[in-house]
Symmetry: C2
Subunit: 145 residues, 2 copies
DNA sequence: ATAATAAAAGACATTTTTATCTTTTATTAT
DNA sequence: ATAATAAAAGATAAAAATGTCTTTTATTAT
């Protein structure tokens, strides 16, 4: 198990891919996305449907349709995707699973975990969905394998 | 989904509880552990069986039997428990699920994730299983609710 | 209007995780 | 030796996550 669910991993990879592919105003289809981020097509379709409903990505049906991101979408923080798919638990929940863990009633790891989670959250909030377009174009970073 | 699996959360809470309860050389039974860390008894039993096989905790059958930790066990890092239950993936695997993600072939988050994971690992390697015994005695930290 | 396209939606299937219950084995005290 | 105790082991079951396949709906180009 990674930090995120498999669903969330696919979501992030797909969003980055759509960002890069549609920066020119075009759209990209589910099949092409799935192939290029190495994910099961129909499973990814569900994920993107959900992201589309939430306004994190855009979609249009029919010929020349597909998924794309508008300028707004590109400027949103990556944490939006994580929150949409996995929920914000990773930023907030107790590392040991305690419901009422808090500074008043802490688990043994409360303090240390607070630090780690805050760093993760700050990181994901400061990264934008569109910020890797250039690096993806140059092949400096990758989304599959 | 938290950072760790539910299994791992139970394991860590249980290990901390056993540490505190058996510091005096006694043993503690599965029923008492389960009640005090708020976990399903038989499910926890499996987890502790496994930790026992791996030498992370000790167990003896029969009357006056139960689980306990020896001095060695108490001084081991908490990361041992995480590795035993969830595996070391959380310290090593790509945040976006790429098999071959590396500094040579990085995913977009590679660099940032490296930092977060290393911090998590350092934290869990520097915490020992026995180090919260005092705080648990004093009620400064808790293992249930 | 019609046919082609592509996402949306629905129905299942599989796998993994989490949980429960029963039987067996080892140990201890009597 | 025997009975009592407690973990180990085995067998299922339920729930959640992941994956696949089919049908429907919206849009576009002809």
């Amino acid at each position: 198990m990674g930090i995120f669910s498999k669903t969330c991993e696919y979501a992030v990879r797909a969003v980055f891919f759509i960002a890069q592919q549609t920066a020119d105003g075009s759209r990209v289809g589910i099949k092409e996305i799935a192939v290029n981020i190495d994910s099961p097509e129909h499973f990814l379709a569900k994920i993107l449907q959900d992201l589309s409903k939430r306004g994190i990505i855009q979609s249009v049906k029919g010929p020349n349709g597909g998924f794309y991101l508008d300028a707004q979408n590109l400027s949103r923080p990556l944490s939006d995707v994580i929150e949409a798919v996995d929920g914000g638990g990773i930023f907030r929940d107790c590392g040991l699973g305690l419901k009422e863990c808090s500074s008043k009633n802490p688990c043994p790891l409360h303090h240390d975990f607070l630090d780690v989670r805050n760093r993760l959250q700050n990181m994901l909030e400061s990264i934008t969905i569109g910020q890797f377009n250039e690096d993806l174009n140059l092949g400096i970073v990758v989304l599959k394998k």
